[in-house]
Symmetry: C2
Subunit: 453 residues, 2 copies
């Protein structure tokens, strides 16, 4: 039997784990520095928690876990005979795999509202599972990296999250464009044109502006029964790139004005700081998700630096006014962003952005020539490790060629050759694997040299 | 609807995540220093990989994931009508949750045998799932921390793994006893008494020696049809505490002699080093698991230091000669140990062994008094973060009492008070939350002071 793994899932080789951890560790270090606290939630949630939160399509993509034991015993015979999946499912499965980190977070905040202090600043880095059809860059198990603050509507957090996006992507060496908008300004467009009933139709069309252009966006809107004149008007407003000019058009649009006020307050914080990446106010930024109510964010790799890259957004987020309402806790406003770690990995791999040495693990490999020097080498090995050098010893004093081949495979920068002469003198031969240079050094000198590798 | 989570699973609050990560990070840092490389495997494995590897009881404890879509469509009507679970299960579920890290590792080594270089030294820290009845200290989702080397039978690795156990537990501040035996020596006992056919019966009885004492162990053996004289003989041999004396009893016991030879070679490496914890050769150490073929390890918290602690083994492992055989790759010898991170957590919590400050996240909380100082404070905040200080700012310039309450809840050692005077002068008031002392300092001075907190 040839072993395999489920389609859409992945094993990770050490080199991949190093690179993935570089991304997670970098993002995590920024979250921590900004005062966010880690939480973790179980892999399995009750289906009663998950179902109905992701739309009908999402419900289908949930992985359901079979109840243990004789799972069919209590199922009605007629339902079984009819193969009535909808009614049988809740009888045989009570748990599902986490589909995202947002719903578990909402559930968590409600369950632990007395253990946490608001504003609650948390980050959450764990895998999620979706039964999507696997394809290039899309997996059934993948990590999400979410950072949110709930229990405050201060716009300081919008500025803080912008800084987090900016700093984390800078540390990852990914040149980015951080686009910012406010849902209320989008609503202002609908107010100005008298089409607030068609707000969702309008945003869905606007969302495609980059891809399909002005004329087709107008066509999309008219197809969804928005009058042509209103559609034209929306596109005209979208072409305004000065907040003051937009404000003058919003005199009778309370939501639009509120949106502009929020953006100004947000900017009052943000402009006090410097940034690494481009930060752009983009009035046409819509983001599909319904639950955003204020500021929205979307980040792309900067095409100016990566002209051949084909990649959608690598991070995004926004403010939501009622995350926990569905679990019975009202009026908890929150704002957060999520890093698409898997896409960031693909960008970094494709554009060769990982730092040199990210895959390096061994500082030095010890090589011995007979049983006595091998045991002595084990002692040297432990001494080096005691000095925090990542050292290893080939397991047997076999042919030098074989040991050197292993050193190559482990990609080690130095080998330490230990024969009987070295054992007697305590002066060992350190060989640089890149240029072949060999030097005779004491253990202390070796440790000092390797500490700077 | 009051939200909840599946029984046997856990949410982790920030303080718990900090403590858990302290354990994982400490263990991981030792694995890395010893030249082991990280791998990761998918949460879901094919049931064909998992089933039959953990015994009949284990198969029942596997969590099975329901196939997506119309999972019943291809199931035979008669099987359904008969509720024939055994035959229906493989029709409706092809995937299960990882039950341990050993079987996925074996599967991984076989699948990636051409991508990895032997000896392959790997560590693997991920959660596993078992549908055990939840009880105190036993969960349905828990982490395992495994470290193994495969593809070499050098006894250097037995010594190395002993050092890893010793160093990791020392760094965790858990005083421990590392017990060591060799399965071949146990087999030697059976050889010496002519009861090799009853080897498993013998080891299962010996395993209980600590708990039930000599007489009851003999009774257990005779119950399992081992002659009383042989049982007595085994117990007499067990009381020998000198390897030389044992060797003289093993003159006609090839496996027993091989076991002694292996232990001597192992000791030749180990004795060259110093250790932090007690390391004891314990001839009665058996460990239940069948697949060990050479050296075996078991670690307990040292009762001399923790007299009231009730806790089983906190780590264990051994050598296995044929891990990958079941997946078609023969003759791959391996040796490894596994840290019981959840039990280590319980020991550390109960005996108060976590380092001071393990839960600390914030270095300082900034407190502003009006809108202008709040925006200025955000600038100071970003400056401090730029200097790698973990700083935070209360989201609004609300009443000082409320902000101080938040500082208390976040357990922060310092607050930085920023009024209009401070804003003008750039000299800020840093208040020590423990002793109440207040000092006037520049941002640079503050950063310097906090860097040493």
């Amino acid at each position: 039997m040839k072993p395999s793994i489920p389609k859409g899932t992945r094993d990770f080789l050490p080199a991949q784990v190093y690179k993935r951890n570089f991304i997670f560790d970098t993002i995590r270090s920024v979250f921590k520095k900004y005062g966010y606290q880690p939480i973790e939630t179980p892999t399995m949630e009750l289906l009663s928690t998950l179902t109905g939160k992701y739309g009908e399509e999402g419900d289908k993509l949930l992985f359901k876990v079979l109840n243990n034991g004789e799972f069919l015993d209590d199922v009605d015979d007629q339902l079984l005979a009819a193969k009535d999946h909808k009614k049988i499912l809740p009888e045989i499965s009570k748990r599902g795999l986490r589909y995202d980190l947002t719903v578990p977070f909402a559930r968590y905040v409600v369950m632990h509202q007395n253990d946490i202090k608001f504003p609650f600043k948390r980050y959450h880095i764990q895998p999620v599972w979706r039964a999507d059809r696997p394809q290039k860059g899309r997996y059934q198990e993948f990590y999400q990296c979410d950072v949110d603050v709930v229990g405050s509507d201060s716009l300081m957090y919008e500025a803080e999250l912008t800084k987090i996006l900016d700093e984390a992507l800078h540390k990852l060496n990914v040149k980015s464009i951080i686009k910012i908008n406010n849902r209320k300004i989008l609503f202002g467009l609908a107010e100005a044109m008298g089409i607030t009933d068609n707000f969702m139709d309008m945003t869905m069309a606007i969302d495609k502006l980059d891809k399909i252009g002005r004329e087709k966006v107008i066509l999309e809107m008219t197809k969804r029964s928005i009058p042509a004149s209103a559609a034209e008007g929306v596109l005209d407003l979208l072409s305004i790139d000065n907040l003051g000019d937009l404000e003058s058009k919003f005199q009778n649009c309370p939501q639009g004005l509120k949106g502009i006020e929020e953006l100004k307050e947000f900017h009052a914080y943000l402009d006090l700081t410097t940034s690494f990446n481009k930060i752009k106010f983009d009035i046409s930024l819509a983001r599909g998700l319904n639950y955003y109510t204020g500021c929205i964010f979307e980040v792309e790799a900067d095409k100016e630096f990566y002209p051949t890259l084909k990649m959608g957004s690598i991070a995004g987020g926004g403010r939501y006014d009622n995350l926990t309402g569905v679990f019975g806790l009202k009026d908890v406003s929150g704002v957060g962003v999520s890093f698409g770690a898997e896409r960031i990995y693909d960008v970094m791999e494709e554009e060769d952005l990982f730092p040199i040495g990210v895959e390096k693990d061994l500082d030095v490999l010890l090589i011995a020539f007979d049983d006595a020097t091998h045991k002595y080498s084990f002692q040297v090995l432990q001494t080096l490790r005691g000095m925090n050098i990542v050292a290893d010893l080939y397991p047997t004093p076999t042919k030098m060629k074989k040991q050197m081949k292993y050193a190559d495979a482990r990609n080690v920068p130095y080998v330490l050759l230990i024969g009987s002469e070295e054992m007697e003198s305590g002066v060992l031969s350190l060989k640089n694997m890149v240029n072949g240079e060999q030097s005779k050094l004491s253990i202390e000198e070796i440790a000092k040299k390797l500490a700077t590798v």
